[in-house]
Every structure is written in C-alpha cells, then in structure tokens.
C-alpha cells in the first residue's frame, strides 16, 4: 500500500511520543486525561494523554503511544499536534474527517482516523471525570 507523504512523515518522525508517567501514576493526576482505545486483536491500540491547565481549561501538552499500522500512528501523532493549545471544547470539535483529509487516508484506513477521534474523546472524558470527582 502506498502511503501519502504526510503519513510517512508522521510515521518516521512521530510527534509527542510518550506519556506523563506510568499507568498508575497518571491515574492519580487530576490534570491529566487518558484515553485508551482499540483492541490488540484488531491490530490497533491508541493511548492518548492530555495535560490540562486546570485554571484555564487549556490543553497544554499531549502525548501518544500507538500500536497499529502507519496510518494509525500518523493519525494519533497528528491528534497530539492539533490538541496542544486548544481548549477542552475546541478539542471535542476535532472530527475524524479532518484527519482523513489532512493525511489523505485511503478508504480502508478511515477506521484509523475514527480511532484517533475516539481517543481524543476518551482522554477528555477521563479528564472531566477526574475534575468532577475533585469537586
């Protein structure tokens, strides 16, 4: 399968790889939202972590890890780039179709963009849940 130049670029130079601590560490951090979506047997698992300024509600930093094909890696890498500097509400506006367009994903790889959108929503939901618990 031929990948677009942007997919190859994200795959070869993934942005914001990593996390803000181990699974148990980030669980205790109210400023961090974690999204873990996909399934190993389907060939895609994405982990997205966002670090939110709790005063302003702005996503200050984002990190990802991805088990999946080149398009899945590129979709999650792109998601971290787009999330940084956005508010929670703005983050929720990111649509998978925009990822498809930006990366020129072929039809068989659209599920990768859907998974990235799911990961964004899961990470934000996790952050909001932690905030509610704090209050």
């Amino acid at each position: 399968m031929a990948y677009s130049g942007k997919v190859v670029d994200h795959y070869e130079h993934p942005r914001n790889v990593g996390n803000f601590g181990t699974t148990s560490e980030v669980k205790e951090r109210p400023d961090i939202g974690v999204g873990l979506v996909g399934a190993p047997e389907c060939g895609d698992v994405m982990q997205l972590q966002i670090k939110v300024n709790q005063d302003t509600g702005v996503i200050e930093d984002a990190r990802f890890k991805c088990f999946g094909c080149g398009s899945a890696i590129a979709s999650s890498s792109l998601a971290t780039e787009w999330l940084k500097g956005k508010s929670i509400d703005e983050g929720l506006q990111i649509k998978n179709t925009e990822i498809v367009e930006e990366l020129s994903l072929p039809p068989v790889k659209i599920h990768c963009s859907v998974l990235a959108e799911d990961a964004i929503r899961a990470a934000i939901a996790d952050y909001q849940e932690k905030q509610q618990k704090q209050q």
């Binding site: 996390n19 181990t22 699974t23 996909g38 389907c42 991805c66 094909c69």
Partner: protein, 413 residues
C-alpha cells in the same frame, strides 16, 4: 557494509530465474519453436525431444519415471487436477446419485490451492476432514490414521508448509495410505528442489511442484502421477487434444517446460550446498533476533522445518507498521493486513497463536543468491524497527509495567 537495496528475502513467494535457466530457454522461443504435437516434421520432433529431456530432468529430481510427469501451468493447476481429478475418478457414488461420494482428508493449514478444491468437492457431495496440527504445525501419520474411515478415498497433505516451513510426515502418511489403499497426494511446492525426494521410497501417488519456486520460470509446473503400485488414474479437468496422456490437454508450454527441466537439473546438483549455506544464514538471523529482542517467537517446529526460511512473531508491534519500517527488505507479513482485510494469517491461527502475535509476524525466506551481508543488514533493520515500534507501543509499556494485556476489556472496533 554495502548491500543492494531493496533486497529480496521472500523466496517462498517466488524466486528469480537462474540465468542458466533463461539461457536454456532462449532457443525455444525463436529457433526451435515447433509444436511437440506436430508428429510429421523436424520442427515438431525437435520440440518433442526438448520436452522429453525436461521430463527426464523433472523425473530424476523426484525419483520418478519420465512417463509419470505431467506438465501443467503450476502447482495450483497440479493440485486441482490431483484433488478434483482424483476424487472424481475414485468416487464411491456418482454425482447426482444423492449418495455420499467419498471421504477426503486434508489439513486446515494447507495452501488455498488445496483447501479451495476440497471445498469445491464438499459442495459436490464429498465429505472432507480438515486435520488440525499441534502448536508445532506438523501433520503426523497418527493424525491421518485417526481420521481414516472405510469410505476415505483421498488424502492430501502438503510436504512443507509455505508460511512456516514445517515438514510433515509424508513417507509415513504415504505408507498408511498404501496399506489402506487410499490415494495419496502431496503439495510439494516448497519442498521439491530444496530437499531430496524419492516418490517411490516416500510412498507418494501424486505430487505437485512448481517452476518459479525453484529458480525456474513462472507459469509452469508439474504433477507426478504414479504408474505402478498403484497405477493412478484421474479425470481430466481440461479436455482437448489429449496431450500429456490425456490428463492435461493443450499445446505444451515448451519454453517454460525446458526452463523447469533445467531448474530441476540445477537443484539436483546444488540443493545440498544451498541448503547447508542458507541454513547457517537462517540460524544466524534467527539467533540474532531472538537474543536481542524479548517477547519474540519462532513459529513452527524448531527442527522439523525447511532450512532456508523462518517465521517470527514479535509481541506488541503491529505487522503492517513493521513492514513499513523495513521497507528496504522484501518479505512477507504473517498477517494479511495489507488491504481491507484485517484477518491475521489462518496458518498461524491454526497453530493456536493468539491474534496479537499472529498480527505481527514476518516470514523471511532466503535463496540461492542471498549473502551474509544481506542477512546482517536484515538483522539490524528488523531489530531497529521492532525497538522503534515498541517505543511507540502502549502495549509494550503495559507489558513492562506488569499489566496482562489479555486481561483488559478491549472495545472491539
């Protein structure tokens, strides 16, 4: 270290033609172009003589008589002719009679060119048992014996598996079939030309082989059809001029057949040395990968497999991205995730390998011109790629943190 890129480590898919094979073929395109079926002039006689020589070369490689070699377009056709032609000849009741037509035994990790003809026969009123191998991937005579019934008419088991290279108990299965008077076919596409073969001692009735897996041309192969003890008969699939003793009508592919013959002759001379050299390179590759990376698994029986190939699963990395990271190396991904299909290899699943590992397997198969420099390059590339992808993999983090990923409730998508 200088190697020519991209490099080819997918010889189980196809091989380059040996230049000596091409040289042998060339005169038969332009000078000796006659139809071997033309019995009344020298152009036909010369072509017939060339085909005859090729028949001797093929027969000699597998310990057969030249009269027992039927030329075909390749292993797929040979398998179809053997399985469908054999079942229809030895059926217990004719089609349309409503009675059971006979029982066939095969394996669930056979090539599709065996499985699909078997499925066709099921639709036509035959019954098929699909044996399941153990985790080592090997079909034994015991397994076949356990599946044998009074109405079994045909057993078809591949000699060596195309994905993992495991070697089945062919002589023993053949012996059992002969005792029970059951027809025995083996798809020997990956085996012939790599390992010594003697259809008489190995008790084979029907054997498929292919030109392009043994440094010959594509589009030509052969089916060995035993003529003595027992004399095997088949219903032809293709009818016409009655060539190849009526088993396979159609003007002979003289250039291809000459190439196949030459390729067989070269294999007979060189396979022992090739096997020894490639076995050492394969072991070097495997040892380096398994010692430098954790959570890797070599698939199939560790010893009873072909020397020139390996199939390795890498935990916590996904197959397609692994192939992408190794784009300078032509190899085969154990998972068929290359298109719309996300299905992991049915062969690896057949060994009971979990979907997670079946998703990230590489088949590397070496060939006559593979060099040690290429293997060194492949080792560095693959180890580097797996390390990079594990840096990216959330599953590898969890594994390192001691979390059992099989215990997580994943949302299937």
């Amino acid at each position: 270290m200088s190697v020519k890129l991209p490099m080819y480590l997918d010889h189980a898919a196809t091989t380059p033609c040996d230049p000596r094979v091409v040289e042998a073929m060339l005169p038969y395109f332009t000078e000796t172009f006659g139809n071997p079926g033309s019995r009344n002039h020298c152009f036909g006689w010369a072509a017939e003589e060339a085909v005859d020589q090729a028949r001797r070369q093929v027969a000699s490689l597998i310990g057969a008589d030249r009269k027992e070699v039927i030329f075909t377009s390749g292993s797929t056709e040979s398998n179809n002719l053997a399985i469908k032609g054999g079942a229809r000849m030895y059926e217990l009741a004719p089609a349309g009679s409503g009675k059971p037509r006979g029982h066939i035994i095969t394996g669930n990790i056979e090539h599709k060119a065996v499985l699909d003809p078997c499925k066709r026969l099921e639709k036509e009123g035959f019954e098929v048992t699909y044996l399941e191998p153990g985790p080592d991937g090997i079909f034994t005579a015991e397994m076949v014996k356990g599946a044998m019934r009074d109405d079994t008419i045909l057993v078809t088991i591949m000699w060596a598996n195309n994905e993992i290279g495991t070697i089945n108990e062919i002589p023993e299965i053949g012996k059992l079939c002969h005792e029970r008077k059951v027809l025995f076919h083996t798809d020997a596409t990956q085996w012939v030309g790599k390992m010594p073969t003697n259809v008489i001692e190995d008790n084979v009735d029907l054997l498929s082989l292919s030109g392009h897996k043994i440094y010959g041309p594509k589009g030509v192969g052969a089916l060995y059809v035993r003529r003595r003890k027992p004399r095997v008969r088949l219903i032809a699939l293709q009818e016409g001029g009655g060539q190849e003793r009526g088993f396979r009508s159609g003007t002979l592919n003289v250039t291809g057949i000459v190439g196949l013959g030459k390729a067989c002759e070269l294999c007979a001379q060189e396979m022992d040395a090739d096997r020894e050299r490639l076995g050492k390179l394969r072991d070097k590759l495997e040892n380096a990968i398994t010692s430098r990376l954790d959570t890797v698994q070599v698939n199939g029986h560790p010893e009873r497999r072909l020397a020139h190939m390996t199939n390795i699963s890498f935990g916590f990395v996904e197959g397609e991205s692994l192939m992408m990271a190794c784009k300078d190396i032509a190899m085969s991904s154990g998972s068929a995730c290359t298109s719309a299909s996300l299905e992991p290899s049915y062969v690896l699943k057949g060994l009971g390998i979990g979907d997670d590992l079946a998703h990230s397997s590489l088949r590397l198969s070496l060939g006559r011109w593979t060099t040690e420099e290429e293997i060194d390059f492949a080792i560095e590339t693959i180890v580097g790629a797996v390390e990079k992808l594990r840096m990216l993999s959330p599953l590898y983090d969890m594994h390192k943190e001691g979390i059992d990923i099989t215990k997580i409730e994943w949302a299937a998508h």
